[in-house]
């Protein structure tokens, strides 16, 4: 099978890979590039564990073909902390006990990040809406919603 070249930016660094036609971005990130922070829970677009940010928008990497990501700017959870300092969302997930087994956490945090980037002071309903594509089977959604609202408050205090 012919290999297809693809180039994109992942968490700020340039990546160039040859992938088989039909390879999902999730598999390319995990198996070829070695960024295992996006998780595969269903491989059919229903659980949200594989969510990554592509050009500022939340995307399901299990339903995105790697070959369509040429020139894209991709962000995953493994690139969120800067210089070893946790992002406010990461801090908030720790502080509110919003992560039990942790398998949904990468997708949850990425979805929450896109929300806060667009809507720095979200309502509870905004948070629920933004996380509605992400399934968690252990923690329960309340601590997760609380984490996102806490991170939003921390952000606005920093800005003030």
């Amino acid at each position: 099978m012919a290999k297809i070249p693809v180039q994109f930016t992942l968490n700020g660094s340039e990546k160039a890979e040859f992938v088989d036609g039909g390879t999902t971005l999730l598999n390319a990130l995990r198996d070829k590039i070695g960024d295992t922070s996006p998780k595969g829970g269903c491989h059919q677009g229903t659980c949200g564990a594989c969510s990554v940010i592509i050009d500022g928008e939340i995307r399901l990497s299990c339903l995105t073909l790697a070959e369509t990501c040429n020139g894209a700017d991709i962000k995953t959870l493994s690139g969120l902390a800067e210089g070893g300092v946790l992002h406010p969302l990461q801090r908030a997930f720790l502080d509110t006990f919003a992560t039990q087994c942790g398998f949904c956490t990468p997708g949850m945090i990425m979805a929450a990040k896109v929300l806060l980037d667009h809507t720095p002071n979200p309502s509870r309903d905004d948070v629920v809406e933004a996380l509605s594509g992400n399934i968690c089977r252990c923690t329960g959604y309340e601590p997760i919603i609380e984490a996102v609202l806490l991170a939003a408050r921390a952000n606005s205090q920093n800005a003030a």
């Binding site: 995953t76 946790l86 997930f93 398998f103 956490t105």
Partner: protein, 455 residues
């Protein structure tokens, strides 16, 4: 969190340093940074993918299996059938002397549930494994199947599992696990009211976010490292050792963070066949359930049926309880004989009842084998018991919480299985619950104690 230090002040040490203190989970920093390593985060060069050919029938005899087309499929490295498995018939709890061995790793001669593993295909890519699995030809003679526990127990019902010889598990006490205490019929005769009700539940799927699976890497010295999301590391290691007839010292199992489990990952299903694949090919092997397999193939919580008959006095005392419990094991035992047995111990409830009679059956049907899940064996029982308690309270016109105070077991009470009650604290919990829920009960109940006899 508020600590009520007034309770049991004279018997409780006051040197607690952890309770009431927030403590971070040790693994959560890894979770929020994406660094936690789950089993599937291990990738090895040259890794093969294992896909299972599964039974499309609930119950069928296997006339023949033809793997020749699958073997020729590009990318296929090995195809495994029952004859490749050194000790193909096993049961998980054999390690604690619970038998007989009643489940096949790969079906041999017969399939007993829809989804049962028949042939394993190992290929260079997931896709090749999937395509080749579709080319395996199995010739089945479909047999009559049974899906209902009461049907399964009737004489003449299709025999699900020959290793048992009948459609129930044989306990040392016979066809069911029994508890006998006092004289239950005398209790019913004396009771002001008798209420018999039956309760039943459907199977429940755990649906963990991370599907079941493992990744096995040969170490090159006939030793194998298996990265797995099992919830029962040593059951898995020891059963793999028995199934593959290789010493445990050749098996290095690495567990760790499980991406959701709820009990569904205690069965020993993926590891033995994946290790066997790695042994026979000399290559790393990944066997991961698809989401569809996880929902359809992994063990659910058992369907249960509970029939409860209670004799109660006008003053609120339950004086007789007779319970018959049925646990639907599906086609194989796994943890179900244990679940049904737990039910037998549990059905008296946290109540002191002088006459108790309990039978619990572990029943085989042609359904997906059920197994452990969050308090299996007692959770559905508790639902049934507590609904029954509300019905009894209503029957005699009593407040349901006050009714429970009257029957609550207290320290020193003899339980139906002849274990004296110790450290009950049920009265105190109900007192707190009544305050918190704003559900007032009479002063005399608020003055009760689990600890002070006769108070």
């Amino acid at each position: 969190m508020e600590l009520r230090k007034s309770y049991f002040a004279d018997v409780r040490k006051d040197d607690l340093h952890e309770i009431g203190q927030p403590r971070p989970r040790s693994d959560s920093p890894g979770h929020v940074t994406g660094k936690t390593a789950y089993f599937a985060d291990r990738n090895f060069p040259g890794m093969l993918h294992l896909k299972m050919v599964r039974s499309p029938h609930h119950h069928a005899r296997i006339r023949s299996i033809d793997t020749s087309e699958a073997e020729k499929h590009p990318g296929v490295v090995k195809v495994l059938t029952a004859k490749d498995v050194p000790h193909n018939v096993y049961t998980i709890l054999t390690l604690i002397q619970i038998g007989p061995e009643d489940e096949t790793v790969l079906a041999d001669g017969k399939v007993r549930w829809k989804g049962e593993a028949v042939v394993a295909v190992l290929a260079e890519t997931e896709r090749a494994a999937q395509e080749a699995a579709a080319k395996v030809k199995v010739d089945y003679e479909v047999l009559p199947a049974v899906f209902d526990m009461e049907e399964a127990l009737k004489p003449g019902s299709p025999l699900v599992n020959e290793y048992h010889g009948h459609n129930y598990y044989s306990y040392d006490s016979g066809a069911c696990r029994k508890v006998r205490f006092g004289d239950v019929e005398a209790g019913f005769a004396e009771a002001d009211h008798v209420l018999e009700q039956s309760y039943q539940s459907s199977p429940i799927e755990h649906a963990p976010t991370e599907t079941t699976g493992c990744v096995v890497a040969p170490e090159g010295n006939d030793r194998f490292t298996c990265y797995t999301n099992t919830q029962a590391m040593f059951f898995t290691l020891d059963n793999t050792s028995i199934i593959l007839q290789m010493p445990g010292s050749k098996l290095h199992f690495v567990g760790g963070t499980v991406g959701g489990g709820f009990g569904g990952k205690v069965d020993v299903i993926v590891e033995p066949i994946a290790v066997l694949g790695a042994k026979l090919t000399g290559r790393p092997v990944s066997f991961i359930y698809s989401r569809e397999e996880e929902m359809q193939i992994s063990s659910p919580r058992a369907a249960e049926k509970v029939v409860i008959k209670d004799g109660v006095m006008k003053d609120g005392r339950i004086i007789a309880r007779k319970v018959t419990g049925y646990t639907d094991a599906g086609a194989y035992s796994r943890h179900s004989p244990y679940g049904a047995q737990k039910g037998a111990g549990h059905y008296p409830g946290p109540y002191t009842i002088p006459n108790v009679w309990i039978d619990t059956y572990c029943v085989y049907t042609n359904r997906t084998p059920s197994s452990a899940m969050r308090g299996f064996g007692v959770t559905i029982g508790d639902f049934a018991l507590e609904v029954q308690m509300d019905k009894l309270a209503r029957l005699i016109g009593m407040d349901p919480l006050e009714f429970r105070f009257i029957n609550a077991y207290r320290d020193g009470d003899m339980k139906a299985h002849r274990q004296p009650t110790e450290g009950a604290a049920l009265i105190e919990c109900m007192q707190e619950a009544s305050r918190t829920a704003n559900w007032p009960v009479a002063e005399k109940y608020m003055a009760m104690s689990s600890y002070v006899k006769g108070a």
